[in-house]
Symmetry: C2
Subunit: 352 residues, 2 copies
DNA sequence: GCCATTCCTGTAACCGGTTACAGTGATGCT
DNA sequence: AGCATCACTGTAACCGGTTACAGGAATGGC
């Protein structure tokens, strides 16, 4: 009983019996296979009796449509790609990323679409990804935080693949749809909250300035101060890379540079968390001496001591909108950029 | 030039020109389309001239194969599913999970397979997942830490879908292949290392006992002590849930219960990290008074103060093996369980 | 009674590949 | 020379769906 003796069967390997096809169902139901197809798609007139007969036959035979045959005939694949282009896969360590991925997975599942995950880190993988995506395997692509100048983007755009990005993609506004949180407004509201609580020496631990998030959050911080009539002091701004460590380092720097410091707005929860041990070591109580607000409202925020106020990044909303926009793009609508509002979640680190 | 005026073309929407097919390439190369197919697959004899002519025609036309047509003809989909069945998506917050996912993505990419990510958390999603996976959309399924009694498993097994799990699946040993780290040996080597360093009162912060990881690591700990001739003291064992917080709580408990404590072996890096502030607060120096070893060697381990010794969980190796095993399963081989070795990474928290 | 319309159904062509089979010309062997 | 073999190639059938088109039966209007 050598495996080579088994005659070639046109079914998936390991499956003993052949799967029923639309023809089998038709024979069972006593109608033509075109009628079965019509019942399946439900967009044409079929008599109630035929519908019932076909429905019965389907349950009796256990029929399920062959997705590849369907895709071949319709030209739609029923799947979309979630593409990560980040060379350093920082994204994977970021809990926000996981939340976004999960949200997208849910939104797609609800629409009966499948999620193809592609990681294009090495040049090799990137090449394969472009070939694959341009090759019509998927109906569209979801991109997370793409680098604006990435040649991969232009290649995909040239191949006319529908694309929706998370965060604006500079230089591709008319060809790539995007969904972004209103980070500027979020940052501004955080700082306004601190001002309203009486703080006057508010420092900022900024994110990388080559990301839209880092830039927008810093701008929101500065604009809130300006609007309140306070000067924007360069000494009160330090730069981190979103990480816990960089937050700690930034805090040490701020303690040195900013006398009378009474609040810190960090551009990420991780950086805000990094400030806590430094502040404790320096004998500054949070929120007694220094009030603290983070950004993202990641799972982290609520578990810290004290629980951290944070600007809620509505990732569930973002993922939902990304999928919706991609659907419209696939249906032929023109690209579109939308912004979703953030909200401030107050916890003990900055009481009202 | 209204979009509605464009006649219905059987190509993906948005694409202006029709994509070249194998027939176009054949015409361009002056051979039959069967020959083109043969060049593409390379498993049959084709004259060198024909090969060149076809290759040229392909580059000239920019041809790429239609994956759906190919799948329809071959019965292979070229894609595998990565299925998450965890109702509480703890997995997503676990950095190990991300590493595993990334490893699998790489291994599949190298084999020109695509990764379909499915999250089956709600009953609805679970139903859809079973239908989808049983329906022949994918060539196989990769499972992470499935619950042994999960009805979803039996359904997939009944549908004869090739499955490889990460970690043994009790009750399905003969139908589901699995890849697991040798956690017992890893735990044992960690404790042996502590014993060799002169420690005699070694405590263990165990993982959940309804997971194979939790059980195996505890067993390795106990066996190492027994083999050394030391008693296994129930008081020196506390139970956590892998989390930082549970590690801290466990450590507080141990300080109370175990006099003369000189070492702690934690079943996860997160729990080991949780012990550090507690130990510091109690005035115990690491590694001076208490030596500490974690498990998983996650990114966390090296960034702690002091850097944490840890048992390296070879997730890259595991993902690679999972994909390899699934390939064999798809090719018709019988299910198989394999174990990959762990290694101990020494850092400052437990010098040799 | 005749024709148009409406509702429903079947036939056939098509999507774009793979592959069994038959056939061709060149070469090798006897 | 005759035949088998080899190396290669083309035709045709097939995978399992969707859908344009051509009817057929029933209904309604004149």
């Amino acid at each position: 009983m050598d495996a080579t003796m088994i005659p070639t069967v046109p079914t998936s390997p390991g499956t003993g019996r052949k799967r029923p096809t639309i023809r089998d169902v038709a024979r069972e139901a006593g109608v033509s296979y075109a009628t079965v197809s019509r019942v399946l798609n439900g967009r044409e007139w079929v008599s109630p009796e035929s519908v019932r007969a076909v429905r019965d036959a389907i349950t009796r035979t256990g029929y399920t449509a062959n997705p590849h045959a369907r895709s071949l005939a319709t030209g739609r694949s029923g799947s979309i790609a979630f593409l990560l282009t980040e060379p350093q896969h920082l994204l994977f360590e970021d809990p926000n990323f996981a939340v976004l991925l999960r949200g997208v997975a849910q939104a797609l599942s609800a629409r009966e679409l499948t999620l193809i995950l592609m990681i294009a880190a090495t040049p090799e993988e990137r090449g394969r990804a472009v070939t694959y995506l341009s090759g019509g395997h998927v109906d569209g692509v979801l991109l997370v935080s793409p680098h604006s100048g990435d040649p991969l983007l232009s290649q995909l755009v040239r191949a006319e693949v529908p694309i929706v990005a998370c965060g604006k993609v500079l230089g591709h506004e008319t060809t790539i749809s995007s969904v972004a949180a209103d980070e500027w407004a979020g940052a501004r509201s955080a700082v306004e909250h601190l001002l309203a609580a009486g703080c006057r020496r508010i420092a900022h631990i900024a994110g990388p300035q080559d990301t839209s998030g880092g830039v927008e959050r810093l701008r929101g911080y500065a604009d809130a101060l300006t609007a309140y009539g306070l000067p924007v002091d360069e000494a009160a701004i330090v730069h981190g890379d979103w990480s816990h460590e960089s937050g700690a380092a930034g805090m040490r720097e701020l303690l040195r540079r900013v006398p009378g410091l009474d609040a810190v707005f960090a551009a990420s929860d991780a950086m805000a968390a990094g400030t806590l041990p430094v502040l404790r070591e320096a004998g500054r109580d949070v929120p007694g001496d220094v009030r603290l607000v983070g950004f993202d409202d990641s799972g982290l925020a609520a578990t810290l001591h004290p629980p951290l106020s944070s600007v809620r990044n509505p990732l569930d909303r973002i993922s939902e909108e990304m999928v919706r926009l991609l659907g419209e793009l696939v249906a032929g609508r023109t690209p579109l950029s939308i912004t979703v509002p953030t909200s401030l979640v107050l916890r003990e680190s900055s009481p009202a």
